[in-house]
Symmetry: C2
Subunit: 209 residues, 2 copies
């Protein structure tokens, strides 16, 4: 974050303009009118640039919004490949920190407006959300292949349990300390009690870390 | 649904008015302006009733909205107490059917507007959401007490995994066949492979059903 700011002073003019345009888009998108309030005109006025400067990079309002949303989401950490447990924990922790109150409104407004702006929503899914989900899918599939995860696992169901618990949070609420780790641990071990098997299973799990 | 409609013809006038008011509230709330578009005046006009008829039952716009949202959510099935697996599956299946496209916009608009209308959102949480979460908490706690679920379980984490996977769904998407059952089964068993323990654990699980 500070690194980014430090670099900022030395940025060329076109990069500064690009950043101002993205910020203006997010500001407008976070307002109550949401997608309806974002127009190339409004973004240009707010960013202090000409409309041509925007159209030179983004052919449409939809392209601009999707780009801005993608710029907000930090990329998921590159899976180390050491174990599914480690990789899923690293990913889950990223969601803990991925909460910027100002930006969460932007996402609500786009997802909540899916019915009214289906093409925008589809692009957002395809360009911002699916690549992130693919990272998680790959970690889970690799865990199945390595034998760490159950061979009969439904990858989509496993991903939905993990992602749902990390994204379906109440607005304005932060996760309790250690939440991401607890979610991954609970998902890995399951909630069912299996008294006969627990000691061996535990041993296997900890030695595998 | 047909049962409800059949009863409708015989309803007394005040009940019909109440229903019209609730419907008008949901219609307005589902529109893009969301909470901002709901006012006692607008609801009265749309429902074809006088403002007094509304104020007689609901002291404020917030009370009316929360009541209308509560009327949409079907109550969760009464837990049978037979097993956590059965009760959680019955609850999860209810979420499968709990998708009314028109109403989902209402919920998005209230949750997405949490920052702007914090009191409305808090009441909605307290009067509509928390009672449903309490049903799930009780099922999980009972499972821990009976020994079916792990004694060291974090109830909130387990509930968040279950509910997240059932509610953080993409808009306009229906669950695949058997999704609710798969979610509960995956959550109960966990996704980790524990080869030494699997056979005994399976036996225990199936005999416990």
């Amino acid at each position: 974050m500070t690194g980014t700011e430090r670099r900022h002073a030395g940025r060329p003019r076109s990069e500064r303009a690009g950043k101002a345009i993205v910020e203006a888009t997010l500001d407008l998108l976070a307002e109550e009118s949401g997608v309806a309030g974002v127009s190339i005109e409004a973004v240009a006025a707010r960013a202090g640039v000409g409309k041509t400067t925007i159209y030179r990079r983004w052919p449409s309002k939809e392209a601009l919004i999707v780009h801005a949303l993608g710029a907000v989401k930090e990329p998921l950490p590159e899976p180390s490949g050491a174990s599914a447990r480690e990789d899923l924990t690293a990913i889950a922790r990223r969601f803990e920190g991925d909460r910027h109150r100002r930006y969460s409104r932007c996402f609500w407004n786009v997802v909540g407006g899916a019915e009214k702006y289906p093409e925008l929503y589809a692009r957002y899914r395809q360009e911002v959300i699916e690549p992130r989900r693919d990272v998680i899918r790959k970690v889970i599939r690799r865990g199945v292949d390595s034998g760490e995860l159950r061979p009969d696992l439904d990858v989509e169901v496993a991903m939905s349990l993990l992602l749902g618990s990390l994204t379906a949070k109440r607005p304005q609420e932060t996760f309790p300390e250690g939440y991401a780790d607890a979610v991954v641990d609970t998902l890995l071990r399951g909630i069912e009690n299996a008294p006969q098997s627990r000691p061996e299973a535990d041993e296997g799990r900890f030695s595998a870390r």
